[in-house]
Amino acid sequence: MPEFDTDSDLIKEYKYGFFTDIESDTIPKGLNEEVVAMISGKKNEPVWMLEWRLKAYRRWLKMKSPRWAFLDYPEIDFQNIHYYSAPKQNVDSTELDPELMKTFERLGIPMNEHDALSGVAMDVVFDSVSVGTTHKELLEEQGILFCSISEAIQKHPELVKKYLGTVVPPGDNYYAALNSAVFTDGSFCYIPKGVTCPVELSTYFRINAADTGQFERTLIICDDHATCSYLEGCTAPARDSNQLHAAVVEIVALDHAEVKYSTVQNWYAGDKDGQGGIYNFVTKRGHCRGIKSKISWTQVEVGAAITWKYPSCVLEGDGSSGEFYSVAFTNNKMQADTGTKMIHVGKNTSSTIVSKGISAGQSSNNYRGLVKVYPGATHARNHSACDSLLIGRECSANTFPYIESEDDTAALAHEATTSTISEEQLFYLKSRGISEEDAASMVVRGFCKDVFKHLPLEFSVEAVKLLEIKLEGSIG
């Protein structure tokens, strides 16, 4: 039987906040070279991989945690975290543990092949390991590789070696270095030349064990003229203590390739008073390496106590384009510092940024974005629109748009607005018979429309529902 947290209010507020009581294989708390080697050993990794990790670890030791973001949190004690925890599974069986199956049912994720969502192939990462991938055969027919990164290191080392760390180098930033040293699992996708991936590829991340960090690593490569759409979802149990999630996602798009990456981030956000919740320090970056390639990020961030996340695009291929569509909702004591970087390197590159921040309660919600145009990146175009919506008087929103252009031919446009749900809007809708709560949620949905329309349909319905649940009780 899955155990439930005793605090039923918590459960009500966060319906994914339950804990699965399952035997797990966990290595002791703390971080040193031995722990890095143990993680590598658990996964039977080749020596080159271990060396890569150790190099990253040594880099990390020399680095300082970034404090430039508009976030307020105590120093993280990196020695007080388990860096590996995996549910024990029967090695002989190809079936999932029944407890795990039940967990995924409660999360609404069908894991057996015949219940699997028809247009979505799913990889599920439970704490530190991937516990199963669906739709394998269909994908294999097309030559698409979709598996856990651990499996990819074993089975496709040449691809991993060629691309891992080339978009987000281990020394890129503090959390990327940490992730490179201790990443435990994540997804790997390779779409071969000319292939349009027939289903949505999806990874679901679940943190279950207490005091465990989740360090997943995802690598997506779309070869020439290939396209794919990737979805990511995440949840964690409700706990009083903070938990660290430090992921790295790398995307490579070659000539004419297109990758669409969508996230619905619903980590546990802590309680009303800011007790507990996930610290979400994530580095996501896409590299438009090929000509006319395209990478599009869509994120709906409604969870986590702290969000530090800037999905970015390096537009190197001539004529390549990058997009960033974001809804970030914060409530209670949540803090978000999120945005994007669009780095224009190639000629005729273009980027679009649409950011919608919604703050309620005493939360703080900040957009931070950089548009950089290198010399010679002629005729770069960017359009940025950053809107903030405030609910109530105790929350705050800030916008930090940085623009660095070193080419005269660039055309960059930036717009920003801050608004509140006005009394007149609520009165208008209410005077039509719509209840206050529905009216407020309507205004918020309208506000987010330009982002939601970029989500795959099923995900967008989900995102709307999620936002509505989150809004309940934050109005008035």
Binding site: F427, I434, G446
Partner: protein, 251 residues
């Protein structure tokens, strides 16, 4: 007992009293016009009837079918049968008209959901009746609408919601002749034994299209004169000074 019965209504905003004892009775099937100088309190009266939270009712009552509605929220009042065509409708960006109308219809439906098919059919028919282009259904509510488009949108809502009482706050202001005719056409279609109308206006011209049986003059927060259609002509001819003289004389 009148369907809508406003009794000695006093309302203020902060310390400023704006309505100073309004009396007005409207029954279903009747059309009333309300005129009065700028700032006399016409929009305030509409907002107070609808339950705008900025105004405090300090004295008097508003009864709908004999029951006081003062304790009801605006959405409850709307569902009870009141409707206000706003003088200045606000925009709700990103919320499509069809979506908004559906939500508002759902809110009225006993099971909380109007069947989509008949709803869409009715919406399209009403839009066609008001010469609104089909594409409007997908536009954001009042988002970038011209003044005339906003007013048509208000009438469209009235046609969909079928209220017992509709208050039209200067729906005719800023309309060109064609739009005025379309709006009047919508109103006249709704007219009948199930609807009581209060038409607030500054101009005689809309009253030529929508012929009211009763006319009231609001001045300084009070209804100071009431009469039949013949009063329209008099007002048009002599102006509000004449009303002031008349009321002074009787006072």
């Amino acid at each position: 007992m009148a369907y809508l019965d406003i009794q000695n209504l006093h309302a203020s905003i902060g310390d400023i009293e704006i309505l100073k004892g309004v009396n007005l009775q409207i029954n279903k099937g009747e059309v009333h016009a309300l005129m009065g100088p700028n700032g006399s309190g016409k929009s305030t009266l509409s907002s107070v009837i609808m339950g705008h939270p900025s105004y405090d009712v300090t004295e008097g009552d508003i009864l709908l079918e004999g029951e006081s509605i003062l304790e009801m929220d605006p959405d409850e009042r709307a569902r009870a049968g009141l409707f206000l065509c706003f003088q200045y409708p606000v925009a709700i960006p990103g919320v499509s008209i069809s979506n908004f109308l559906k939500k508002a219809m759902d809110a009225r439906h006993p099971e909380g959901k109007t069947p989509a098919g008949p709803f869409l059919k009715e919406m399209r028919e009403n839009m066609a009746y008001l010469d609104m282009d089909k594409s409007f259904a997908n536009r954001g509510l009042n988002e970038g609408f011209s003044g005339g488009e906003k007013k048509r949108m208000e009438i469209l809502q009235m046609m969909m919601f079928k209220p017992g009482i509709a208050i039209m706050d200067e729906t005719d202001s800023g309309l060109d002749i064609d739009a005025l005719q379309v709006v009047s056409k919508g109103v006249n279609k709704m007219r009948g034994p199930d609807l009581g109308l209060l038409v607030i206006t500054h101009y005689e011209r809309i009253l030529n299209y929508i012929e009211p049986e009763h006319l009231h003059v609001l001045m300084d927060g009070q209804v100071v004169m009431s009469g039949g259609p013949e009063l329209v002509k008099k007002l048009e001819e002599y102006g509000y000074d004449w009303v002031r003289e008349q009321t002074m004389a009787t006072a």
